[in-house]
């Protein structure tokens, strides 16, 4: 009898185990991108491209640890096991590469692959130069000037100046298979049968419709071997289409459900996943012209905006109020003197102090906003509320809505063009994944348009000094301290109207298990299962 029971138990156990092993399923994701992000290595469609295509098929030398949601995602060894700057020559970085890694096509990963990938981005006369991919990522590797092989598993990068930001650049350089490229000798063909080292490999590519990937069973990191068998990516730019596709069971995961659908989705048993990540939604002000040239007026505007109201009433808590470039709890937040809360009385007092008056001498400004766009959340509704908030304290803002693409084009050109001369601000959302994106490109005097995107322009020698110092500081905690001081300075100067930080909502079917939403723009899909 005992033996029978044991046998039965063993049978049940083994059955359930095999059940587990084959029931890991397929995850179908509805992306906001209007097309399948470029699969030929240096991907497009911004960080959504990196999120679902770039970092799934390929890997960088230095990667993001996306396995936890309780801290800002840190950089960890990827295809490089370690790296360090040469003490004697701080413009040279030595990377020790991981051994025993193979590309999806079976060829080995080594120093040649790193040099090849680098040249595809930076060496314009190389036969394997990829002009399209280069345009997508080259500027993220701005400080890198060269790489050479020391031995099969060691490479040395060179930079144009001593900079501690190198790891924050190398993390965007995805390593492609030179062997696969030699087979096809054309980046478009490579993109149709791509080969990287990442946890997923492409099995089917239907342009503009779907990309199918399967688990890379040979993935080098046994802890991160995908638990599900298949990943399907579908471009769905229309929010209502994404919502309908999720609710009708055509996909298991959608990015950015419309905020007003969230209570409904929750009620129907769907999971809503959210977390803070380096995103801010702001009005970037023009500082060389009235009225925003006056710091008191800028502070007044920051005190006039009801951020809690925007998050609660408009966005169903899919965002948190922003009182600076980064959010509270972020290593660069520091201790700003001003904490911008909703305080219309204070705003009015500041305006009065600045010499303005709601009835006799109101503040007038023209702000360019978009009608939609990646990361822009609900720009029209949010801006109408902000306009009302500002009007209440005596700031008359005329909102000029344009299409997203137009807004980006006009913004890049700066305020001093014929089109933009009449403007006083633009409403664009940003990332602050690393110090240059967060601060350097906006607040350094050397980043004024057209070099980078300091459009305001914000010229502050103290800020320049802090940014340069952070760049020269190779010790990360010390660097964070310097950036926190910079952040305190920027918050006090208020060159932006800080509004909200998005919480990156996504809706998942109840069948999706094991997903942890990191504090990042990217995701780790290896632990996810679909039952």
């Amino acid at each position: 009898m005992k033996r029978v029971v044991t046998l039965l138990l063993a049978l049940v156990l083994s059955l359930s185990l095999t059940g587990l092993a084959c029931a890991q399923g397929t995850l179908r994701i509805g992306m906001t991108a209007s097309d399948i992000p470029y699969t030929g290595g240096q991907t497009d469609n911004g960080f959504e491209g990196f999120r679902f295509v770039g970092y799934q098929i390929y890997e960088p030398l230095i990667a993001w640890d996306l396995t936890r949601g309780d801290r800002l995602a840190p950089l960890v060894p990827g295809l490089a096991e370690s790296w360090e700057v040469r003490k004697d020559q701080p413009t040279k970085w030595v990377f020790k590469l991981r051994k025993g890694v193979t590309f999806h096509d079976g060829s080995p990963f080594n120093a040649d692959a790193v040099v090849f990938s680098y040249e595809s981005i930076k060496k314009k006369d190389a036969p394997h130069f990829d002009p399209y991919g280069s345009g997508q990522v080259s500027f993220r590797l701005a400080s890198l000037t060269g790489v050479h092989k020391i031995d099969d598993y060691t490479v040395e990068f060179e930079t144009n100046k001593p900079t501690s930001f190198v790891p924050y650049q190398v993390c965007y350089m995805l390593i492609v298979s030179p062997a696969q490229w030699q087979k096809v000798k054309d980046w478009r063909k490579f993109a149709e049968q791509p080969s990287g080292t990442g946890p997923y490999k492409v099995t089917r590519f239907v342009p503009r419709e779907r990309l199918e990937l399967e688990a890379n069973k040979q993935y080098w990191d046994s802890k991160r071997r995908p638990k599900m068998d298949k990943l399907v990516l579908l471009p769905m730019p229309e929010p209502t289409t994404r919502l309908a596709a999720l609710r009708s069971g055509q996909v298991d995961w959608i990015e950015v459900p419309p905020p007003d659908s969230i209570p409904q989705l929750k009620g129907a048993g769907f999971q809503i996943s959210m977390n803070s990540y380096p995103h801010n939604w702001t009005h970037t002000l023009r500082l060389d012209k009235e009225p925003w040239s006056n710091k008191l007026v800028r502070k007044a505007a920051n005190y006039a905006v009801d951020r809690v109201g925007i998050c609660k009433s408009l966005l169903n808590d899919t965002c948190i109020p922003a009182t600076g470039v980064v959010y509270k709890g972020h290593p660069w937040f520091g201790k700003p003197k001003e904490i911008y809360e909703y305080n219309p009385e204070k705003a009015k007092a500041l305006l009065k102090q600045a010499g303005f008056d709601a009835s006799k001498h109101p503040v007038k400004a023209v702000h360019l906003i978009s009608t939609s766009g990646s990361g822009q959340m609900l720009p029209l509704a949010m801006n109408e509320l902000i306009q009302k908030n500002l009007k209440d304290v005596g700031i008359d803002v005329d909102l000029q809505p344009v299409e997203w693409n137009t807004l980006l084009t006009r913004w890049r050109a700066g305020f001093k063009t014929a089109d933009n001369e009449g403007l006083n601000a633009w409403n664009i959302s940003w990332n602050f994944l690393e110090p240059w994106s967060g601060f350097g490109r906006f607040f350094h005097s050397k980043a004024v348009v057209p070099v980078a995107v300091n459009t305001m322009p914000y010229i502050n020698p103290e800020a320049d000094k802090l940014i340069d110092e952070a760049e020269r500081t190779f010790d990360v905690p010390k660097q964070n301290e310097i950036l926190a001081r910079l952040h305190e300075l920027v918050v006090d100067d208020a060159p932006w109207i800080f509004v909200v930080h998005d919480q990156n909502p996504r809706a998942l079917s109840p069948k999706v298990k094991g997903f942890v939403q990191p504090q990042s723009w990217f995701v780790d899909l290896t632990a996810v299962t679909v039952r």
Partner: protein, 312 residues
């Protein structure tokens, strides 16, 4: 008739050239540019300028247009900026999908619309006539993208009977049929309304002519009278059918966007937002060609059906 067809074909060339110039001008006059659309939001003006140069978008517009035209004359529609695929491939795939929808929705609309219109004409003033007119009015007035959204909510979200978006998930003909059902219905609404009304009034016109009275007075069976009426109203109906089919092909942008149906409308929509000029030009050129040819075919068909329409 063949000289007529030849002349019409020759006349199509300036029409198409004109269409391509208008499209080219409109795309370039609209704010935003193709390179900025595919470059990351964070890239600076300097980087954009460099990429523009690499793609030849820094040349004067007239030069860009002539370069494009020269390639089209050799049968090369260029490459998409966003996907770097040959435009001809994108156009081919999407056109096939759109033709399927245009055909299925046209058949649905023509079938039901003609039947309803004829029934209404022969039962003028009765409840069937009123019902048909009501259906026609609804068909013409309801925005089809709105109808599409309602169809999705009812049949995909609530009832879970039919898929909400996409073509087939590589699942074979049955899956394809399931996917095309809702967009077909949504797309059939407008032509259904138009055709019902046109057929009804065309048939009524003929019914009110004296020869019908004469036929009836002669004691011809109702069925034979019906055949005569249909034959006499056919030319007018054909014109509308042809035009409607053309509209179905080019006018499905909104429905295809709502259902993410990978046809020409969806492709156009994408290309507009990505400022993907080669794709935009290619799709519009091909659609315009289709429209011209379709009109010609309808004209020729009319002369075949009704020899009274003399062509010179």
């Amino acid at each position: 008739m063949w000289t007529y067809a030849g002349r019409r074909l020759l006349l199509a060339i300036p029409t198409l050239l004109g269409a391509s110039i208008i499209v080219f001008a409109m795309v370039h006059l609209a704010p935003g540019d193709p390179i900025a659309a595919v470059m990351p939001a964070e890239s600076s003006q300097a980087e954009i300028e460099a990429t523009k140069k690499a793609y030849g978008f820094d040349k004067p517009l007239a030069v860009q247009y002539l370069v494009w035209l020269g390639r089209v004359a050799q049968g090369d529609l260029g490459r998409s900026i966003a996907t770097r695929r040959a435009v001809i491939l994108d156009v081919r795939d999407s056109l096939a999908n759109s033709l399927v929808l245009a055909l299925s929705s046209s058949l649905l609309a023509f079938g039901i619309g003609t039947a309803l219109g004829l029934l209404a004409a022969f039962r003028q003033g009765r409840w069937l006539d009123k019902a048909a007119s009501a259906i026609a009015v609804i068909g013409v007035s309801v925005p089809h993208y709105w109808a599409g959204i309602i169809l999705i909510i009812v049949f995909s979200v609530w009832l879970n009977w039919l898929p909400a978006m996409g073509a087939a998930d590589g699942g074979g003909p049955l899956a394809y049929l399931r996917h095309m059902t809702l967009p077909t219905v949504a797309l059939a609404l407008i032509p259904l309304g138009v055709i019902t009304r046109v057929v009804r009034s065309a048939a009524l016109d003929v019914l009110n002519q004296e020869f019908v009275l004469a036929l009836r007075a002669k004691g011809l069976a109702a069925r034979r009278v019906f055949t005569h009426v249909v034959k006499n109203s056919a030319p007018q109906i054909f014109t509308v059918l042809g035009l409607q089919f053309g509209f179905q092909l080019g006018g499905s942008v909104l429905v295809e966007a709502v259902f993410s149906w990978p046809g020409t409308g969806y492709l156009l929509n994408l290309a507009i937002f990505q400022r993907d000029i080669p794709v935009l030009q290619g799709v519009i050129l091909v659609l315009a060609t289709f429209f011209v040819l379709l009109n010609l075919a309808v004209d020729l068909l009319q002369t075949l059906v009704d020899p009274r329409i003399a062509r010179h």
